[in-house]
Symmetry: D2
Subunit: 114 residues, 4 copies
């Protein structure tokens, strides 16, 4: 029963819902990219932090203290580089998101005028 | 110069620092386990959420709406199960942490008395 | 135009969509609770970690080293307790989620039979 | 006993450890800033997502669907802007981190030459 009922309105509603669907797919795609960047960052940051924590916990004399500081320096250098790159990725993603929104809005307005 | 200086104090300080080192290694090990549980949880939750977001964005008729709701039900069921298991893991980790702290404290007290 | 079109189907579809809406509201409510628990945990863990990192960075003699270890012990004790409590909250939330799902499923089946 | 022992080496070791302490304080300060940016981002993103999830769960007719899409558009716009700003903050933090590391390295080299 419902199938018949809804089949009849599906074709009519498709045009109505189309911009919303296109928009929601864009949102889903961008959230997926954002989640990937942030999860990768969390993973990499956690891995480095735990590694440093374990190295710090091994410090028991001057040699291991110097080793720890050298590895700390290298870890922080890597982190700085990652922050710069992640920052650029986020900024770029935000900009792409904005551009896509504008494109969809314009298309919807055009479609409404036709 | 520093090497000689520190070599002479290393042996004397080793006994002094030993409980702290043992304790810091325990902290590092437990933080590593905690990080693993939380990163796995974040990964799994994000994957499921993004999957559901993409499925929701495909809803355009009654069939896809019913499909979405079925997949939502299954996702939520999986999430409930994961929450229960993660909760048990965290509680167990916290308890292990406490027990280990107590053991280390007792050993330190004993060593100090000898 | 659309308003008339959709108004006519709204009443008929309300009964059809009602269980899905009820279910989605439950999902939203539980995700909100889950997010609150995890954000609070992340906040508290980060605050403690940064505090310890700052205290560790101040270590420059035996007194500050002993102070750091005392504060580390207290931080870890607090963390253990938090893990136990967060674990119980997550397990409980997962169980509530499961119970609610079951209730909704049973009601939907009953409603379908009437 | 230990106090006397360590007091005698504290003055000598202070100069030796000073760059490491300065460096570790820099690390702690930068991790604190990074944690603040990421926690704020997680908080804001979660708040918006949960809000949208609750609004989505209320969709039951065309009016609420249109309302949801309007609020979705505004949420995504806000998110895009936040991504751009957070990205800039992270990139800037990474750059500051790098610059500070370089300054400390140079000072350490200079001090060693004196």
């Amino acid at each position: 029963m419902y199938n018949d009922f809804f089949k009849s309105i599906t074709d009519q509603s498709e045009k109505f819902f189309s911009p919303a669907i296109q928009f929601n797919q864009l949102v889903a795609k961008n959230i997926e990219q954002l989640a990937k960047i942030q999860l990768d960052a969390a993973h990499s940051f956690t891995e480095t932090s735990v590694e440093q924590l374990k190295t710090a916990a091994e410090v028991k004399d001057v040699k291991s203290f110097i080793d720890f500081n050298a590895s700390q320096l290298s870890a922080v250098n890597k982190l700085s580089q990652q922050l710069i790159e992640d920052g650029q990725k986020l900024t770029q993603l935000g900009q792409e998101f904005k551009d896509n929104l504008e494109t969809i809005s314009n298309e919807t307005v055009k479609a409404a005028k036709v």
